[in-house]
Each structure stands twice: as C-alpha cells, then as structure tokens.
Symmetry: C2
C-alpha cells in the first residue's frame, strides 16, 4: 500500500468504528429511552438520531457521492431545536434512514480514489478552493467523524448506568 492509501484507510477505519459504535447505542436504547433527554433540558436520543442522519445525508452531495435521500429531516433535526416540533418520524423509520444513508456513504467512500478525496467539496467554489487546498473531501470526512463522536459522547449518557 502507498502512503496515501494508508492515510485514507486510517480515516475510513475511524469513520467506520465511530458509526458502528453509534449504531450500537441506537440499537440498544429502548423506545422509552429515546424520549428521555440525555441531560436535563438537553436533546433526546430521538433528536440525535434524526440530527446525525440529516448531517450524514448531507454528506452524499457534499462529497459528490449522490443525491440527498432524506432532506425532509432538515427542518425537523437541523433547523429546529429538539422539543419544538410535535410530530417526528418513528424511531424505526429513523433507524432505517440512518442505516441506509451510512451504507450509501460507505459505498461511495470505498469507490473514491485519493485524487477524489483531495478534491474540493461541493459547497466550495473553485476560487475558494484554490486559495485553501485543505478544504477537501478528506477534511469533511475527518470533521464529520468528529461530529458523530461528539454526539456519541452525549448519546452514551442515555444508557442505563451500570
């Protein structure tokens, strides 16, 4: 393997591990636990599930992998705080979307060449990118892995204390 392959693989391994751990918690929580805030006055797991799904769904066009699958989630889980919208999708539908979007992402990631990882992401103009080559797709992958880990740290608080 080349150095570039090793570096790309490291980031993919980290993404996969983080998504797997997060999915593990989503699978473990009971329906009741989904509706209890992770800390007083904070987000509920159902909101975190929708929020992470929407953010991952946005990565499809951002990284040139494909079209949005669940833009209906944006108004519920990106532009509105938790608790302000009464009717949300069911937990099982949200879980399905979460898994579907992550499967599409992983398929896209696996097909991407190092050159493609270093291309600009789609919300950058060519001019902006020329001025700052670090704002590439690979950076988005690292940044979004961190975003998932950030919310995983919160989600884990929803589990029963052992």
């Amino acid at each position: 393997m080349t150095q570039v392959d090793l570096l790309v693989n490291a980031a993919l391994a980290n993404w996969k591990l983080t998504v797997k751990r997060t999915t593990g918690i989503f699978d473990e929580l009971s329906d009741d636990q989904y509706l209890i805030p992770v800390a007083p006055g904070r987000n509920r797991p159902i909101y975190l599930l929708g929020h992470l799904t929407a953010v991952h769904d946005l990565m499809l066009p951002l990284l040139g992998i494909g079209e949005r699958q669940h833009s209906e989630l944006d108004v519920l889980f990106l532009s509105s705080p938790d608790g302000t919208i009464d009717v949300l999708p069911t937990i099982s539908n949200l879980k399905k979307s979460w898994n579907d979007v992550n499967a599409l992402l992983l398929q896209g990631f696996t097909a991407m060449t190092p050159d493609q990882w270093l291309q600009r992401h789609s919300s950058m103009t060519d001019e902006d990118f020329a001025a700052d080559l670090t704002r590439n797709r690979y950076s988005v992958l690292l940044n979004r892995t961190n975003h998932t880990a950030f919310h995983l740290g919160q989600l884990i608080l929803a589990r029963k204390k052992t």
Copy 2:
C-alpha cells in the same frame, strides 16, 4: 504540497480545532461548574479535564514525541472513576497541565515527517505491526481526536443553557 502532506495537514487541522474548542469550554466554566456532573450520576468537568490531560499525556511516548509529563494523573483519572478519590489537583493546575501537554504534542506533531506518521506506535511490536500496517501513529492521532470530541460533547452540557 504533496497528497501525503495534504492528508497529514487535514488531520492536524482537525486535532487543533478539537483541542481549541475543548480548551474554550475549559476556560469558560466557573470553578463551581467544574464540580457539577455533566448529567446526573455522570462525570464532572474536573474529571473530564484530568482524564483528557492524562490521555493526551500518554500520547507523548506512544507517538515517540517524549516522556510522560503527568503520569501522576493516571490513578486519579484513568484507573479510578469520578467520585472515588477525594483529593484531586486544583483546577488551575490541571488546566496548566492540559495546556502544557497539548503544546508539547503540537510541537512534536509539527516536526513529524509522513514516514514517521506511518510508523508503528510504541505499544505495538514490530511483528504485530508487520501484520497490520494500519496501526500507525496517524491512526492514533485520528482516534485520539475522536476521543477528545466524544468528551467535548459531554463537556458542553456543563455550560449554562442559553
């Protein structure tokens, strides 16, 4: 810049951003807030500060950057859960250790060549590493960035709700 440089820079930028955001919360919390668990029955910010400092300190030998600076933190913040040890270092001492360790790490990171990033980390044997080249220093950097982001997600719950 070569592809390898761009990939290494992306990971360093992500590390720096995560440490900066975390330090921002540590600097913002009042002494009282440091002693209130982030959620009922969970870790207090003082524990997260000590824990993250110990984990970052461990990265110094792990990545071949230097000697441990604060191994006295291990028994307090790695092997003991929060609430089991009565006397902890002061918040201002912990903050100083946090900043010092991060400064040493950053100095080490900046001096590291791509070849060095792809070397095995010091807790791997040569034989194990030959069998799995992905367990390199760069992977440790990505993984520890995630670890910090994970606890940052919790730490942010300690701030006053706005």
